[in-house]
Amino acid sequence: MAVADAVLDHPDSAERAKSVVRWIPRLAAWGVLAAFLLVFPLSLETFHAQRWSLGVVFAIAALSLNVLIGYAGQISLGHQGFLGVGAFVSAYVVTVHQQTFWVGLLAGALSGAVASLLMGVVALRVRGLYLALVTLAYGRMAQETLFNLGIFGKGSGVEAPRPALLLGDHAFYYFSLVVLAGVLFFNWRFVRSKAGRAVSAVRENEQVAASYGIPVSRYKLIAFVVSGAFVGLAGTLYAFLNGRVDSQGINFEMALFLVLITVVGGLRSPAGILVFTALFEVLPTYVGDYFGIRWSFWLLALGPALLIITLVFYPGGVGQQIKPITSWMTGGPFRVHHGEQFVQEGVSGRP
């Protein structure tokens, strides 16, 4: 009785007690997830640790592509070109100019942002399918010309030596996770602040956005800059993960792979993108061990099928499927809220 009275007298403390109880199982679930990501890899051999790091790198690149395709409604089929710019510039700054890795990381992010900004200027004039073709051409050009420039080793690539701190593959994996966490934070603040809202409004209806006082062109460019900075970071990690970077690996297949994990993972759903990247990039390593299936099979056979299934039946991708889980993990109930059902939208975001 006394407890009930106390609860009635202090509804605030009752609420608080309820919310604490509500969070206990959720925090436990977060703990299990964190333990899996942080502790389990310690038991991995070097090859697998690299594989996990690569998964994190591609997750960052996919989050970058999500800013363009998901939030801004701008297609890019040459995203590997921006990743490459970040990779080459960071390696160049560290190897040729003897700067520290941290300066290289900053240079990678900045150069990615600048390269993407230039493409953004093009996107102000060229739309939809035509923009897809321009970005595709840019990606090819970057691979054939840009990455074979004299300063980038005339085709033989650039060394990207890791700093002492990140020499171990496990250390590098943890550092990649830190960068991913940073990107997730900035992505979150982007979506929940003025810039993200303006970019989304521009995607859905440029005229309405302008009538709200949003400078349409400026916010398209801001989306390209944010996306470019993210993928520049991914590029830097990519270079230093491998220890060197050349134009061979940074090809059109990578661009397709990035579009695939972004769209199937779920546009505008970072959680979906992360889950699918893990499934598609890390899991095959183990399945391959057991069944002798080469990793490239995954991309060639399963990829296009998944892409078509997503576009036709589940436009929200994996993010749509795991919505009950993400809702629960962030403090909501284990179901899709009535008003929150996924609105069917095309890639351009226009219904």
Binding site: R189, K194, A210, S211, Y212, E345
Partner: protein
């Protein structure tokens, strides 16, 4: 000084004279009606005023400033708020998110500071949210705050759209057929809401409206357009009974019957 002074606007699309020498004024706190049959050029005039079209001739002055040459978003930032005939909202977002988006020009932190999550941005986001809720309360839509726009009935969307424009903190509210999709009852209520908003927010209103009883009930002054020309202007009662207006709406023979 008139809040809005449209001076002798003309615009041609190819060989079509969409507007010819149209002048419209809205004084402070006035509710000005814009009527006319379909295709008369009412929405075209809205587009000229707000900057979506650049008129071939004439000037648009807003709050004493010549805004004829400046882009849409700057006019919006000066306090031109407009709605669209085909509901201008971010339909994938919730009602509340739309009202927060609409406050774009009122946000003090920069886009970069927002992305980096700088100190003052979090507190300001709360203020934006509160202001959005206050406006939803004012127009009686607070219960829909977390609903997605896409699933709402058309008439409700029109109301949400007006709430979003109010969130831009406009000096002038330009409404393009605000009661389309509403029944007579609803549009009557809408008239009351409009009168209340003018009083509480100190708004000047310019509205395109077909529902004549509403126009007569709320407007202080009415302009009638036909084939891109100003047919007549004056007090609502006078315009309504003006023989040329009756002809324009109903045709020659109908006038004879009347």
């Amino acid at each position: 000084m008139a809040v809005l002074d449209v001076d002798d606007i003309s615009i041609r699309f190819g060989g079509l004279q969409a507007l010819g020498n149209v002048s419209v004024k809205a004084q402070e706190l006035e509710i000005v009606g814009l009527i006319g049959p379909n295709g008369a050029g009412k929405t075209t005039l809205f587009n000229c005023i707000t900057g979506f079209y650049r008129p071939n001739d004439g000037r648009v002055r807003f709050l004493g400033v010549d805004v004829t040459e400046i882009p849409i978003h700057q006019r919006a930032a000066m306090g031109m708020g407009r709605t669209f005939q085909q509901v201008g909202l971010v339909k994938g977002a919730t009602v509340l998110e739309n009202l927060i988006t609409a406050q774009h020009t009122k946000v003090e932190y920069s886009a970069g500071a927002g992305i980096l999550g700088a100190g003052n941005t979090w507190a300001e986001e709360k203020v934006l949210r509160q202001r959005a809720m206050e406006i939803l309360d004012l127009v009686g839509l607070a219960h829909l705050a977390h609903r997605r726009v896409a699933g709402l009935p058309y008439g409700t969307m029109k109301n949400v759209e007006m709430a979003a424009v109010l969130a831009t903190d406009p000096e002038i509210l330009m409404l393009d057929e605000p009661t389309s999709g509403m029944g007579p009852e609803e549009s009557h209520t809408f008239g009351d809401v409009l009168l209340r908003l003018r009083k509480e927010l100190g708004l000047t209103v310019l509205m395109i409206e077909h529902h004549v009883p509403l126009v007569v009930a709320v407007c202080d002054y009415v302009y009638c357009l036909n084939f891109g020309q100003l047919l007549t202007e004056g007090k609502p009662e006078d315009v309504r009974t003006h023989p040329e207006v009756v002809t324009a709406y109903l045709g020659e023979e109908a006038e004879e019957v009347a």
